[in-house]
Symmetry: D2
Subunit: 153 residues, 4 copies
């Protein structure tokens, strides 16, 4: 299904802060983890080194809404969905679900939601970036998620 991907990771000690919960900035790293795993699942690396000039996907917008605390050793599922696809821009929706402990009958808990807007750029020899079309090989593999999956309660 080329409109979503689920990555799972366990919260690490170094991701917590003195309030005893995951520092809010780390959810943005988690978003990127799922985004890059999504590209890999499609056979692409985000560095897109095979292209000349080299391409990249800098972020133009990122946001997160925090609903529940996430703690050390919690199992986190990062669910990425394609919300919008334009020639040079991709817009993602994220759901962060805390998974139940192994052997528990609990349901996953939604702890946060997020959005991320990335633009495809080419880097010239001087390090300047210019927005360009997403390569067809990648764009053709990505589609927009069904509308009912994009509802955020």
């Amino acid at each position: 299904m080329p409109y979503e991907f689920k990555a799972v990771r366990r919260v690490e000690f170094s991701e917590t802060d003195m309030a005893g919960i995951v520092h809010f900035s780390n959810f943005f790293r988690y978003m990127e983890t799922a985004e890059h795993a999504f590209y890999r699942s499609l056979g692409f690396s985000v560095t897109l080194n095979d292209f000349d000039p080299p391409l990249g996907f800098p972020r133009v917008h990122a946001a997160c809404d925090y609903k529940k605390p996430l703690r050390f050793e919690d199992l986190l599922e990062i669910h990425i969905l394609v919300k919008e696809k334009r020639s040079r821009v991709l817009n993602y929706l994220f759901r962060f679900n805390k998974l139940p402990r192994e052997g528990s009958a609990d349901e996953p808990t939604l702890v946060a939601t997020g959005v991320l807007t990335v633009v495809c750029v080419a880097h010239d020899r001087n390090g300047k970036m210019e927005a360009v079309s997403i390569p067809a090989d990648l764009a053709n593999k990505i589609e927009i998620a069904p509308i009912e999956l994009l509802q955020v309660s």
Copy 2:
């Protein structure tokens, strides 16, 4: 002026990524840096350890819009402004300005803007959090910035 604060810091090597620019997640750390420096400028520490039960300010919403790349050793001014003040909630606006190199006549460059919504909570003995009113000693020192300062172009 209890509605704004400006913190300045130099971008560190460990804050960059392989794209050669500051990793987007670090702007959320920069927001917090300015927020806490703002509290200190008012005579408060964000940990508010003097209160019983202890208080904290978890984030419920954070967002950032990226306009220009920020690089190693750039001088960054983080401008925090109070956008909204409710009994239990504070809403901040941020402007990230890259300052000109020492001796340069260049103007500061707006590289990003951000928002952060924090809620005041009390921690009970079991680590549970409950939203509570911001202590009057702090709330009374904070006011909403003039509307013309809160325009984001």
Copy 3:
């Protein structure tokens, strides 16, 4: 085998720096990742919350020797070995191996080695730490690795 554990993770974009390689400080986070996974494999959480007073394992010494660069999306095996066990102190050795890409016939490459010395402490109600004996339930499950595994070339 209660003297070693191997954790595997893929290098993330946010762990790289503008030199295009993993920032050296992240190897210390990787050490801790493997250490905590080792405790979990023995049925313990490093937070040891079940104990009264609560215990912790602050670090007293950490070191790393870097041999080869590690890059984005590399698969990293973090091999932790118990080097020394005393009543209040554990000393670990780490080998960081870059694993070959899936489908490759290459051998793993040693990219770094490390050491970490942790001491068991009890936290009193005022946050003060005092060195105490490692709980027998944990200490009895950990043994020192065979000497031939502890050679660092």
Copy 4:
């Protein structure tokens, strides 16, 4: 004095962990902060972009000994000293001093010491690194600290 530099910074919330203290990995970032500020104080940037091929200073060894906890909002002085200078290698010693709160008559407290060994490399067009001599312009400005300053108690 081209054999030492002192950088001061305040501990940030995002640098703490759930144990309530600065995460041990951050001391390695602090080392680098002081190292780069030292180069800047000599008129150099660590990126050394003016050289062709571009130079860098990857780390080959890093170590830290932790003596006291460091906490949120503590004022930290990072004292870097040149311990050894070879044609391609620099070896630094660090003292981490917690400074007394403003207005306090307390003495600084040594919270940690560290070492860092860096090697000068040239990056060729394919990203390969080769050890090369430190440029004379930089090497000539750096000298080894007096022996009595390099004692670590």
